[in-house]
């Protein structure tokens, strides 16, 4: 009977994901906010809490996190990241200052202590490259002049996160000042070593792993991915970062094929990841988190609008393009949840779970709405 319950529960969860994904695609929205809602409804304290499948879903969520970061890394090559960092350092600085500080301040005002506040800063800082890239494509904004600047902001954010996650993980472990400093040194060293290997030997690794057989290629990629994630985790550098760096290492035809092979797998496990995050949040804590989340979301819209406007303006973009860049950057999504998820898993601050869930729910929906609004206004005022 145990097996039947397990399969039924798991099947129920997947059915839920199917329904949510269908609803999201129907309305042309990111499914992330819906997955979170689904998780809230069926997790602890929800309508129908799961019992047996929970373990499996937890493991699935971990794989989802790794695949999420890996496919993100696949989108970039090492040289692209270095170029973006060089030519847009100022832009990245503006973005970081404007969007991380509100989270940091809010965390401290809520009396959470410095480390959870730093995690909240990460949550408010990072835009959702997944939601935004899809939105740019759907709205036909890829050819627009301001789009390279929007993408540059996203690249830098992703890169900052590769530095942020290990740092934050080390801070979570804590210890004496010297120990923390030492761990940060080790973490930085590991990231630099892996990044150097990715930059220098990426093409060679890609060639070695590449195979005409999809199966051989898939296993090769997964092996590199999981081993890198494991090694970084062993050094306390968060498996997510290892996965991201492994993704950067792949380029050329290996990366193209890897994308098409792994994206369906990623969708399954990433969906599980968001659902699991929702599971872990007790719906009873949502009302308490609501005021802070609303204030933070309002601030989050304002700071990203200022960022987008300023960034596009620096690039010599006209007012309408600036408005589009401003609206495009609002959406937060997967990575805010990733950051909050790590904080929750390590027991840094239980309140960050519901707060991040509501925050992302609001902004993953507001962002694309704002973009469409700007788009429609432009369309009505210009004879196309």
């Amino acid at each position: 009977m145990h097996d039947a319950t397990f399969l039924l529960e798991l099947g129920g969860v997947i059915l839920l994901l199917a329904i949510l994904a269908r609803a999201a695609s129907r309305f042309g929205f990111s499914p992330i906010p819906l997955y979170l809602l689904g998780g809230l409804a069926f997790g602890q304290g929800g309508v129908v809490p799961l019992v047996t499948a929970n373990r499996f879903i937890e493991a699935g969520a971990e794989i989802g996190l790794i695949l999420l970061l890996f496919t993100l890394g696949l989108e970039y090559s090492a040289s692209e990241l270095v170029d973006a960092m060089r030519s847009n350092a100022v832009v990245g600085g503006i973005d970081l200052a404007l969007n991380a500080l509100p989270g940091l301040a809010a965390g401290l005002l809520l009396g959470w202590g410095l480390v959870p506040a730093i995690f909240l800063a990460g949550v408010t800082y990072i835009s959702s490259s997944g939601v935004i890239a899809r939105m740019l494509d759907e709205l036909g904004w890829m050819g627009n002049r301001e789009t390279p600047f929007v993408l540059a902001v996203l690249v830098i954010e992703d890169l900052v996160m590769a530095g942020f996650l290990p740092l934050a993980s080390v801070l979570l472990v804590g210890g004496t000042f010297v120990r923390v400093l030492l761990s940060i040194g080790v973490a930085a060293l590991v990231v630099i070593v892996v990044l150097t290997i990715a930059a220098r030997y990426g093409p060679a690794i890609s060639r070695a792993v590449f195979s005409r057989s999809d199966e051989a290629l898939l296993f090769g990629i997964l092996a590199v991915l999981l081993l890198t994630a494991g090694v970084t985790e062993a050094f306390n550098v968060s498996a997510a970062v290892g996965a991201f760096l492994a993704g950067i290492a792949f380029s050329g035809p290996a990366a193209d094929r890897a994308r098409s092979l792994l994206v369906p797998l990623r969708s399954v496990f990433a969906g599980t990841f968001f659902l699991f995050f929702g599971f872990e949040v007790d719906p009873g804590t949502i009302p308490g988190a609501l005021p802070a989340a609303l204030v933070l979301a309002a601030a989050g819209v304002a700071t990203k609008v200022v960022t987008g406007w300023a960034v596009a303006r620096r690039g010599g973009i006209g007012p309408r393009g600036r408005a589009r860049a401003a609206a495009a950057l609002i959406a937060r999504g997967e990575f805010s949840i990733v950051i909050a998820g790590i904080a929750v898993a390590e027991g840094a601050e239980p309140e960050i779970g519901p707060l991040a869930a509501v925050y992302v729910l609001l902004l993953a929906i507001c962002g694309p709405l704002a973009a469409r609004f700007v788009d429609r206004r432009a369309a009505t005022s210009t004879p196309a």
Partner: protein, 161 residues
């Protein structure tokens, strides 16, 4: 050919842009997935692009063919991307150079520089995979494959023998 400006779209692909003969600005977005978007800039907002066409990988090949592009050079560009250290270039054969009226074998390109001449473009026609006996004329364009250094040497060779 109009001057084409290139903009990287990190994580997405590349955007090319040029000013057409009638003053319109035209852009092409190369998605990494192989999708190509053809866009146009006009109206009172210079930053907005209007979608003209969205093409799948096969569609853009077909369209390029219909528009009269040479398939050879595009396939070579793909090769260049895949093989590290490999360079592909087009070298003009000077009309007053030593090989006007000579053959590919006469240049000794392969033995002296390690560079292969994989096609000769003459007027509108492309001659792929020419043999050593292929006769060269001043004004031909040679499509060559080799190391960047080898190609540099060959360029000098074609001018001065």
């Amino acid at each position: 050919m109009a001057e084409v400006s290139t903009t990287a779209l990190p994580g997405i692909g590349i955007r090319y842009e040029f000013v057409a003969h009638d003053g319109h600005r035209i852009g092409v977005v190369h998605h990494r997935s192989g999708v190509r978007e053809l866009v146009r800039y006009e109206g009172d907002d210079p930053d907005t692009s209007y979608d003209l066409l969205r093409l799948g990988p096969e569609d853009s090949r077909t369209l390029a063919e219909l528009l009269g592009a040479s398939q050879v050079s595009r396939d070579l560009a793909e090769l260049e991307r895949d093989v590290e250290g490999l360079a592909i270039d087009r070298l003009p054969l000077p009309a007053d150079g030593p090989f006007h009226g000579g053959t590919i074998g006469d240049t000794g390109a392969r033995t002296r520089t390690g560079v292969s001449i994989v096609a000769v473009l003459r007027g509108d026609a492309a001659h792929p995979a020419p043999g050593p006996e292929f006769g060269l004329l001043g004004g031909d364009t040679l499509v060559v494959v080799g190391t960047p250094r080898g190609i540099e040497k060959l360029a000098i060779l074609l001018r001065s023998g």
